[in-house]
């Protein structure tokens, strides 16, 4: 998605709000109440994003991200619909742990839809992921809950795909 994001960030490509139009549902004629729904154009971006001293884009493999001078420098790491894209969930959680300052916070929200085709080393249940988090050195705080949500849904379609995503906040224990 980096290219799509860069398209919005680039002053050469995107200058004003709602400059572009996309018809993301035009190809799928199923679950359609009316043709105009399927063919509709959607304007974007609602705001024009730019990189700032407060906002940096780092491209590359997450597992290879080692900011200098020391790795453990983040106060918060937020994983949104991300951890289930890991090919090795242990590596991912270990790396999150490593990148956090002692006492730092890991916030997670998402489903557990593992990459298909037996590409992941393991396909864990929620129970197993939480247990793994504990083993890696996280303490999941009270208030873990299920958040019902959609993902790139067509609001006007006759079909909904609902995730019962899990949300939790965890603290890095000093091991």
């Amino acid at each position: 998605m980096t290219l799509a994001f860069r398209f919005l960030l680039s002053p050469e490509s995107t200058q004003t709000p709602n400059q572009h139009t996309v018809h993301p549902y035009a190809h799928w004629l199923s679950h359609s109440r009316a043709s105009e729904n399927t063919l509709r154009g959607i304007l974007f971006p609602d705001v024009v994003p730019r990189l700032t001293p407060n906002l940096h884009l780092i491209e590359g493999d997450f597992l290879k991200h080692h900011p200098t001078p020391s790795s453990a420098q983040y106060d918060y790491i937020i994983t949104l619909f991300f951890i289930d894209t890991s090919l090795n969930i242990i590596s991912t959680l270990e790396h999150i742990h490593k990148l956090l300052k002692p006492g730092g916070t890991w916030i997670n929200l998402g489903p557990l839809l593992w990459t298909s085709g037996a590409q992941t080393r393991m396909e864990l249940s929620l129970e197993e992921v939480l247990r793994l988090a504990e083993m890696v050195g996280f303490m999941v705080q009270d208030g873990r809950r299920t958040v019902e949500c959609e993902y790139t849904a067509d609001r006007k379609a006759m079909m909904k795909w609902l995730y019962q995503a899990e949300f939790w906040v965890a603290t890095k224990r000093s091991v």
Binding site: F5, S10, A26, H27
Partner: protein, 269 residues
């Protein structure tokens, strides 16, 4: 008189047929399956043995064009751009299939279809996809500009995508896996995911969907005092089109984003 068992037999026509018949069958199969536009002995060798080792999506493997000069890795800049630039052709092909299916109706039924406005709908789809293709071309153009050095190795012309479309899929792989994500032809999946993510992350239409998942997260961050926020470092791995990270940075903290190069559910990495 048949040769005695002790005498070595020469190569007969039978031997030649046994050797070449499988290749002939292969040749025909490949053409029927429309796998290759120009079949030579060299490409036959590639079909059987494959151009490169099987793709293993090792998370530690960083995709780069240098690793496989003939075929770009699955998650790579070139495949991503190829997916965007091939979109129009692939979308038209898809539409063509719909048209042909409709054309199989009887004349009487076609009249009904016309009354219903079905041909007009297909025409509408065609126009919408054309607009999408133009948008995706712009995204590809931006990529070529920003990753200018990566594209020096390949032709800069708009047909960069089609080159990869002509790669032959190793037959052993085809037989084993069928048509899968490792299909070396550019696929529309990536382009379509990108378009949906423009909506999800950066449109008014996606606001509700964002709110449900951003609110719990931003609520945690809002508990941090305003002064403290300035010193905070936040990482958002796999941030997609970056809306969450942008929202975090708007809170006044220091928002860093990190992209993984892989994302099919996302699109066009």
């Amino acid at each position: 008189m048949s040769p005695s068992p002790d005498q070595p037999q020469g190569i007969t026509l039978k031997h030649l047929l046994a050797a070449f018949l499988p290749l002939l069958v292969l040749y025909i199969t490949v053409h029927i399956l429309d796998l290759s536009s120009a079949l030579t002995l060299f490409s036959l060798r590639n079909i059987i043995l494959g151009n490169r080792p099987p793709i293993t999506l090792d998370q530690n493997q960083s995709p780069s064009l240098k690793e496989s000069p003939d075929i770009p890795p699955y998650f790579s800049l070139h495949r991503a751009v190829a997916s965007y630039t091939s979109y129009h052709a692939l979308a038209l092909k898809e539409l063509d299939a719909l048209q042909r299916s409709y054309a199989r109706l009887t004349y009487a039924h076609k009249k009904v279809g016309y009354e219903l406005g079905y041909p007009r709908k297909l025409e509408g789809t065609k126009k919408a996809e054309e607009a999408n293709a133009k948008l995706l071309e712009s995204v590809a153009g931006c990529a070529r500009r920003e990753f200018n050095h990566e594209f020096e190795l390949t032709p800069e012309s708009g047909s960069g995508g089609e080159d990869y479309g002509k790669q032959v899929m190793p037959l052993w792989k085809l037989l084993r896996w069928g048509w899968r994500e490792e299909d070396l032809r550019p696929d529309m999946g990536r382009a379509r995911e990108a378009m949906k993510h423009f909506v999800r992350d950066w449109s008014e239409e996606g606001r509700e969907e964002r709110k449900r998942i951003f609110d719990p997260i931003l609520e945690v961050l809002r508990r941090v005092g305003e002064e403290q926020r300035k010193e905070m470092k936040v990482l958002v791995p796999g941030c997609g089109l970056g809306r969450l990270a942008w929202e975090v940075s708007e809170l006044g903290g220091c928002g860093l984003r990190l992209h993984k190069p892989r994302e099919l559910r996302s699109l066009i990495e």
